[in-house]
Symmetry: C2
Subunit: 327 residues, 2 copies
């Protein structure tokens, strides 16, 4: 509960001063006025050693790449294109400088891939490694995707398999990296350097069908709660409809765990989670087919401000402490 309370506390205390601010706290990014056609998106995410990554199973370049990707995902989820960023990197004075350089190379390589220009930041003495990136994106005013537009009856979709990243993490913790099979490698790679659906988000944003959207960073149950909160609605998730890869099923069975739990609570999948008015379902699915995108129907928005999962024909009310367990 801590993080949730803290953020809602902060939100309550914010006074609104600037006419340049279109949207503050409460979405993947803040929105600032830019020009007639375009708005500026801003997001800031940090990774801390042994909390968000361990150097036991991350290569330094992968740490950097991941730090870049999680920010790119926030810009993508609002329909924007990232273009510039600031980097704060903290590390111990005793740290080998070539290790830090490798992390920075990972960041810069990812930035180059997405044509993001690093424009500033700071290096800070710290106990352990931390990376704090602030990223800016541009978005067409007509195609901004936000969390707050979901309406009762809307269908909830996602863009790809859920739980892979968590399965990858389990493998990293339990197995040595040199001892892993090919299918396990695929899951691990997804955990280390997730694929960001930037192009897909651009196409979806331009479709005009989405009533809300965000990226799945904390797990589908946690993140649908955020859409519900911002839209002042509730949601039902159809557990058996969640797309889960055969690889993740295999891993969860080996660990004697339920793969739907991986999908529901695993987090860090960075797939898009979005809603569409049910009246537009057929038109939307035709659009999806035409653009060769993959989407999966995984639930619906309800009026009642609660989060439920529907599984084995039962409707189970979600406990908030489970939903907010990521802190």
């Amino acid at each position: 509960m801590k993080e949730f309370q803290l953020i809602s506390d902060i939100k309550k205390n914010i006074r609104f001063f600037s006419d340049k601010v279109i949207k503050g706290i409460g979405d993947d990014c803040a929105i600032l006025k830019y020009d007639k056609k375009t708005s500026l998106l801003l997001t800031s995410d940090s990774l801390f050693e042994d909390v968000h990554f361990s150097r036991e199973y991350f290569l330094p370049e992968e740490i950097g790449e991941k730090a870049a990707l999680v920010n790119i995902s926030d810009i993508a989820a609002m329909g924007g294109m990232p273009f510039t960023a600031l980097l704060n990197i903290g590390f111990n004075k005793k740290e080998k400088i070539f290790y830090i350089k490798k992390i920075i190379n990972g960041i810069i390589k990812s930035f180059e891939k997405y044509k993001i220009q690093l424009i500033g930041g700071d290096t800070i003495a710290a106990d352990k490694i931390f990376i704090s990136i602030t990223m800016l994106g541009l978005v067409n005013n007509k195609f901004i995707l936000q969390r707050n537009g979901a309406k009762p009856g809307d269908i909830i979709f996602t863009t790809g398999n859920l739980g892979d990243t968590y399965a990858g993490l389990k493998l990293l913790i339990k197995k040595k990296r040199e001892n892993i099979s090919l299918y396990e490698k695929k899951l691990i790679k997804k955990h280390l350097t997730p694929f960001i659906k930037l192009k897909e988000a651009q196409i979806l944003a331009r479709s005009g069908f989405l009533t809300s959207c965000m990226d799945i960073s904390d797990g589908v149950m946690s993140d649908i709660t955020r859409i519900a909160e911002e839209s002042k609605v509730g949601a039902e998730i159809y557990v058996e409809n969640l797309p889960v890869s055969d690889e993740t099923k295999k891993v969860s069975l080996a660990f004697k765990e339920n793969y739907f739990d991986y999908a529901l609570y695993g987090g860090e999948d960075y797939e898009l989670l979005f809603t569409v008015n049910k009246e537009n379902k057929i038109k939307f699915l035709n659009f999806i087919k035409k653009h060769k995108l993959n989407v999966f129907e995984i639930g619906r928005i309800i009026k009642d401000k609660c989060i439920y999962k529907i599984t084995g024909g039962k409707r189970i009310k979600e406990r908030y402490d489970k939903v907010w367990k990521h802190f």
Copy 2:
């Protein structure tokens, strides 16, 4: 040397992608295009527990206030006005939440004072407390102050006493907070919550006389080196001309230390450090008098790309490892 090398390494590796970026790494802030009259300034600074502050002698509100002020100082030093910010705050899961709330209250209180709207960020699990703030400001295109315009012959000025903050830190480390006298309190307050010369910077920027400007965060010797680097020149600092308060003199004498060393290397004074063409000296000083500002002439820019201090009639070449000792 580490930080300096790292940053210059990063600078070399940056590719330039965006036509929106006017200036990247190398100043107090990056500059982005905004509209015909205005540019956007961006800066990002982090504080890490037991490196930049200790809770032994900082109240939690002061930690927050300082984190806000160091970023405001960067915007001020470029002639801009801050208007919005993102906050990443990391803390241990075992941390008492009311302590974190007090830090955040300190941040928000400072933001309110300067009419800065908090628009986003993240809370992160970490070992110790860290605060990473990214701040945005707006600046009139005609009045942007940068580090790269100093020319040989220019006079170097600063806006106020140097070394007070370091003297304050010494007192905090050596003395219990309840045992301090009134004059010592003044120094300590300057260390905990430095006064930012935002108004002064606005007036100076509009004077049109400044050829370069930055804020003193690492100490005058370190920071004049940055102006020299960016302007491709050198500098001489007249040690005996440095403004040092009677309070700091008293403290340094009590510790049997040289108060000019406090002023030269202490850092965190957040006074402005700037240059003016010597041809304009009289006009500039008249302007200063008219606007009731305090400035102190403390050196001059030279062609030779070295940093010297002039003291006791001698010219001493500064060692870079001393200048860059802050990391």
